[in-house]
Symmetry: C2
Subunit: 137 residues, 2 copies
DNA sequence: CTAGTTGCAAAGAGTTTGCATGGCG
DNA sequence: CGCCATGCAAACTCTTTGCAACTAG
């Protein structure tokens, strides 16, 4: 890990493992804290503070990504596969919530178009396009 | 106004006029409630509840747009020029916060690329790209 | 006039934090 | 064993709401 990217975890607790497992199982989905809590409940509850603290830690480590949601004041969290996600723009379906990876080439093409027309350098990891996916259309 | 788009305002109060004036003066900027409060303070304070209620009303009317911010749990608000903003993707500078309009043609080109590669239909009004603008680079 | 709006204060919703206890290494 | 993490509850932050007083039309 590069310096300044946040502290590494110290202990590998049960709770942390279970939280990460849920996120890894659904890499195309974003979770509210309450979704995580719900999903975790089946094998025994984890306190909210533990969830919040672990999540926060993982965000700092770059293991998961934190997104703001347009409706309401809750945050969304998603497992972030560095190899897969870096350099990709993402698209989120407003109906089903699923996350799609915009193909590498297309992402780069878009990035270049914006650069040419506005001299604006996109941070692909931060940019999420919203719309309706093929399944929901 | 189309049905279902929200209620129209009833009264044109001093407070409402002043709030809208501030937003209209900086159409390339997004405001936190506290920024508005600060900007309004100079000509006499407006209560928070009045600011919140007016803002909420304007969002429902489509006069301004509400955005979630990635850091912190506050919302951002921006005057929404229908003629100018409709059909445009926006780009927000992560450093200075300024909002840029992605040219109509480029917006459409991007929209089509995504449609072709993912069969995903972008909602341009909801999509904001993040990055660094030319001035801040 | 009289319905919609303001300002205040109190209630909500989501997140963070202090502290004693418990568990990883 | 020592340090970090957990769980609980209380504190915080931002937003919403109830209500009496106040205005725009």
């Amino acid at each position: 890990m590069l310096p300044g990217e946040g502290k590494m975890k110290k202990y590998e607790t049960k709770q942390r493992k279970r939280i990460l497992a849920v996120l890894k199982e659904h890499t195309d989905q974003q979770f509210y804290i309450e979704d995580l809590e719900e999903a975790l409940k089946e094998e025994g509850e984890i306190s909210r503070s533990a969830i919040y603290r672990n999540i926060k830690q993982m965000v700092e480590e770059g293991v998961i990504k934190k997104y703001a949601s347009n409706k309401g004041r809750k945050f969304l969290y998603q497992y972030f596969e560095n190899e897969v996600c870096l350099g990709h723009i993402h698209a989120k379906c407003l109906r089903c919530g699923k996350i799609y990876h915009v193909d590498h080439q297309v992402s780069r093409a878009i990035s270049e178009e914006i650069l040419n027309s506005l001299h604006f350098t996109i941070d692909k990891g931060e940019s999420v396009l919203y719309g309706i996916c093929s399944e929901c259309a």
